[in-house]
Amino acid sequence: MSEPPPPTIEGVPVLDADDIRRALTRIAHEIVEKNHGAQNLVLVGVLTRGAPLAERLSRLLFQIESQPVPVGKLDIGLYRDDYGTAQNLPVALAPSDIPVDITGKTIILVDEVLFTGRTVRAALSALLDVGRPASIQLAVLLDRGHRELPIRPDYIGKNLPTSRQEYVQVLLKEIDGEDRVLIYKNKGEAR
């Protein structure tokens, strides 16, 4: 099903569209199982690619439980801990949009790749500035290891052992026009 990558790109396909669909379906079932249904849940996707994944999970949860689960998106630009130089403009900020009061809710935080854990750390800080949820669970499409912080996902689409130098690229239909995951020897090779 998955096409071979264009010759100029060294990326090795890891997941194709069906793999992604199956992984998300499984995660949806695990969420329902762990939370005894879909009551009181709010899905929050980390911008950029966590947001469409959260939307997809919401649709899957509705198929399973006939229960609409609200979806928010979260920009973590203001909560990063990596200081750069001021020579270039910092990353553009996207507006966060969390449509419901998260206080007392169970939040499923959704991101595409879990690596050092720093993005999730930033996302937790950002969420806690918006409200006081009852609990926060973490769902990721890929876990590639190399954690620098004590962060553990609750739901994993696929464990993907990598070296630190390697770069994992997740392509999603909503943003990139196709569903696919590629792995590169180093970041410079990614498209």
């Binding site: 750069g84 001021a86 990353v91 900020l93």
Partner: protein, 311 residues
Amino acid sequence: MKHLLTLRETSKTDIDYLLDTAGTLREILERPVKKVPTLRGRAMITLFYENSTRTRTSFEMAAKIMSAEAINIAVSQSSVSKGESLKDSLLTLQALKADCIVMRHSSSGTPEFAAQILKHTSIINAGDGRHEHPTQGLLDMLTIRQTKGQLEDLEVAIVGDIAHSRVARSNIWGLTKMGAKVRLVGPRTLLPPDADRLPVQVYDNLAQGLDGVDVVNVLRLQTERMEKGLLPSLREYSRLFGISQQSLKLAQPDVMVLHPGPMNRGVEISADVADGKFGIHSAIEEQVTNGIAVRMAVLYALMGVSSDTEA
């Protein structure tokens, strides 16, 4: 972006970035806890050689919301001539490891001068002489864009003492870069030399200047202008160039009115207009709030994270 000195020399791309970022950051001001950790450990020093509670407080708020340290230094104008040179003061602040200096000075060009001297510290111009006041220009644009949805093709009249106004200059460059059409309206004694070479239309008649405009930006009239013989009287100025319900009738029905403050009610702007009576859209308070968002955006652009490490 290393410094923010002028809007004349800021690209449209960067202005877009700053306005978009400010638009995003504005949401934080509506939160119960107005604080994000973004600029933790960064130090902003405000160095004001002119009094200004308003602008300085706005920068201080912006820095504190972004978790930067805000240190204020007020220098009385008189110490300039007898005390330490500006160059030495700036080098001292740099050696104190300020990440960014927010500077206001009565002499045009001092932020440019500071930027030429300092290699490690960012400079934000908070108003220099008659030259520029870029964050005011940005907050005016943000305020207009929030109401009108865009800046392109809007007719904006800047009314009053153009010659001595840094607000006017920053507005002219910012607005025209974003595609708005700018008119300057004021008595000939308060229009700058060769104003017609600026990318604007110049009017010395208020009725013509306001005809069909979408936005009126009213400048503060310094009463000392009258003492220096540039105006016969405030009374006559108010009659010829004051913005009132009456004079706004020629503008678009949904015209919005801006004023950088502080206002001289009854001189350049009538109390009714300032207070938004008769359905007039006075955006003066929105401007103040947007001022914080714009300054947060500028601090973020100058001191924020620019590397993109991975998840």
